[in-house]
Amino acid sequence: MSERSLGKDLLGLESLTAEQITLILDTAEPFKEVSERPIKKVPTLRGKTIVNLFFEASTRTRISFEFAEKRLSADTVNVAALGSSVQKGETLVDTARNLEAMRIDMVVIRHPSSGAAQFLAERIRSNVVNAGDGTHEHPTQALLDLLTLRDKFGRIAGLKVCICGDVLHSRVARSNIWGLLKLGAEVAVCGPPSLMPLGIEELGVTVFRRIEDAIQWADVLNVLRLQLERMHAGFIPSLREYYRVFGVTVERLERAPKDLVILHPGPMNRGVEIDSRVADGPHSVILHQVTNGVAVRMAVLYLLAGGRPELAEAAKGKGEVAE
């Protein structure tokens, strides 16, 4: 894989180089502006067919991808395939064969099983974009987080970013860890030890047991969503206690030595992992993240379709793209 391309698929950030990640972020820059125009559309992917294959409910990610696809003028089809776990296994193999037969150009897949995006990518010729697979990776979310941080700080290298919450079950955390480390950030995680995966330190991250310590250390907190079912599965005693011990609150942030930037992948549980006053406050860049999500996804689709990064500027500027 050359540094100037992504290869066939985007399955995760673990397998990308720093240059490839930077390429995506750089390519996203000109696409940001497209969304600010009265006519939010460029003809870059005209004639391409993209299937959004969602085996798991997700309003935000699907809508963000759909906007990205439409603004690139691609033809899109949404397939929601929610089913039981047994059906799901059969469906994925069969779905792969069907998609292949329909000569789809790209597939954006969201699936509850880790590895499902890779499974599909290995079986079809179309480009595959992982929109979240189980608890493995969610690369476009991490890319938009990186873009947001780069907007805010002008750099990623040297930033101290702490990922807070349910790291064990978080694909957002994994993708962020890989992306941040590759771009030279210092990465920490903080949350209940019962929600920390084994061997996490070996990835090269610092583990904080107490949110107060993380806040003392960090430039940025990326606050993960706590899935409410974790309580019923016995990982934590209660949401109330979680908020009391690990919640990112105004009071805790006031004791920080500097102003922290707060990211959240959404959707938020206000009053569980994050205080509403923090989510809506001046340090939150959560809405900026949402805006960047579309630009980053446009960049990914553009690059996978074989678009040349140096032409992305031209692509947004004019109505024509050399393909």
């Binding site: 059969e90 994925l92 193999v93 099983s113 880790s114 499974f119 493995h136 995966p197 084994l198 990835l203």
Partner: protein
């Protein structure tokens, strides 16, 4: 049956401390003599075995033959033929079939099917509990009288300590071991070893402690009852440490390890390789090293394959949804030679002991020796023959192996059961 003379082979029989170039004469189903220049009976078939190893027949204490219930992935006949092709003269069939082998008729069915197949011997293992439901003891006496050689609820753990205690106590009436699949059900639910690799892949983990807790419990219950506990497919360093201490204390425990746990680590799961999904899961390099040491020093007694056939497309799915298990009968000997003997971890005699003599002792089975007068279950193999693992050529009905494409040494030439050649390479 014509007498058979295997001439000038390297006869390796750890049960007699034998490793020398010698002839072996088989007559009327029994080993008739070992030595040089044995007289050749007039009607004997003479086979030049020079360059080959002649050993007591291999015995696998742990296979899943899927019949009755899943005859499309394996049958007793296809499993027995796969066993013979792999150099096994006898295998022990786990009872987690459908229906479960928890009664006399079910045991008798296996015996009958195995006889009809006429390949490797198949010894049934009866269930510990009715339907393997973990509640009520099966009728061990009936099972044993029909031919069962041990009891186990393998496929699932025995969750109730009380039931395990009763099984270990009651089994002593019949002198049979109780074989346990050690897994704390409240700690499992994962799909691979819990560690750095599962963290990277985002797959739910099965911690080593899930096995070790049950190993510790079983050892305590074996001590309490003085029963014979046989621990299936040990996978962790912690487990073998516990077994080593228990053996020092004189607790009656025996244990197995599979070829895959001796060779592969959890890194084999990278790329979501479902052929590396088994239960217990592949663990870390430190565990592999501890298992090899334990096999060498006798803490772990035997190599058993845990041969677990699955439908050809069952593994062709997401890692979470693929079934646990791999097949092993037709690769075990070559993997042992290639991965354990050639690198100097075990001697050839030690490998043969762990795959033949020791299993016979552990389950009190015929065979495992070439002592004159004993049953002529013999394996003949060429230890230097090199081949490539090609699942398409397996006798098993299934293909689910993580070793496809591996270059290995050691090819089975003849498998002899009760004096009858049940497999001969190139004869098909």
């Amino acid at each position: 049956m014509r007498p058979l003379l295997l001439r000038s082979g390297r006869v390796v029989d750890p049960s007699q401390g034998l490793d020398e170039i010698s002839d072996l004469l088989i007559r009327e189903g029994k080993v008739a003599g070992i030595g040089r220049g044995l007289g050749v009976p007039d009607d004997a078939e003479v086979v030049d075995a020079s360059g080959w190893v002649v050993s007591p027949g291999l015995i696998d204490l742990h296979v899943h033959l899927r019949e009755p219930g899943q005859e499309d992935v394996e049958t007793i006949a296809s499993g027995a033929r796969a066993a013979a092709a792999g150099g096994f003269t006898a295998v022990c069939a786990m009872p987690n079939t459908d229906p479960v082998t928890d009664n006399q008729a079910a045991v008798g069915f296996i015996v009958k099917q195995a006889q009809a197949a006429g390949a490797a011997r198949v010894y049934p293992i009866g269930a510990i509990s009715l339907g393997q439901r973990g509640v009520q003891l099966a009728e061990f006496g009936e099972l044993v009288s029909a031919g069962a050689v041990a009891v186990s609820d393998d496929g699932r753990p025995v969750a109730s300590s009380h039931l395990m205690r009763m099984a270990l106590s009651y089994a002593q009436t019949f002198g049979i071991p109780v074989a346990d699949h050690c897994e704390d059900p409240t700690l499992s639910g994962g799909v691979m070893h819990e560690g750095l690799v599962s963290t990277r892949l985002g797959l739910r983990g099965i911690p080593s402690a899930a096995e070790e807790i049950m190993v510790a419990r079983d050892l305590l219950l074996a001590e309490l009852t003085r029963g014979h506990i046989h621990l299936c497919h040990m996978s962790t360093k912690g487990s073998v440490d516990l077994i080593r201490r228990a053996k020092d204390k004189g607790i009656k425990v025996t244990a197995e390890v599979t070829p895959h746990h001796l060779i592969l680590t959890d890194e084999a799961c990278l790329g979501y390789n479902t052929h590396a999904k088994m239960n217990p899961p592949l663990r870390t390099a430190a565990d592999v090293e501890a298992l090899r040491e334990a096999l060498k020093d006798g803490t772990v007694d035997v190599i058993a394959t845990d041969h677990a056939p699955h439908h050809y497309d069952a593994k062709e799915r997401e890692f979470d949804d693929a079934p646990f298990g791999v097949i092993g009968l037709e690769t075990a000997l070559a993997l042992g030679i290639t991965q354990l003997v050639r690198p100097g971890i075990l001697t050839l005699a030690e490998l043969i002991d762990r795959m033949s003599c020791a299993p016979a002792k552990v389950f009190n089975l015929p065979g495992g020796t070439l002592r004159p007068g004993t049953v002529a279950d013999v394996t003949v193999f060429d230890p230097e023959a090199r081949w490539k693992v090609d699942p398409e050529r397996f006798y098993s009905k299934s293909r689910n192996t993580p070793f496809a494409g591996w270059e290995v040494f050691g090819k089975v030439v003849m498998t002899i059961v009760g004096g009858r050649v049940v497999f001969r390479s190139g004869a098909d």
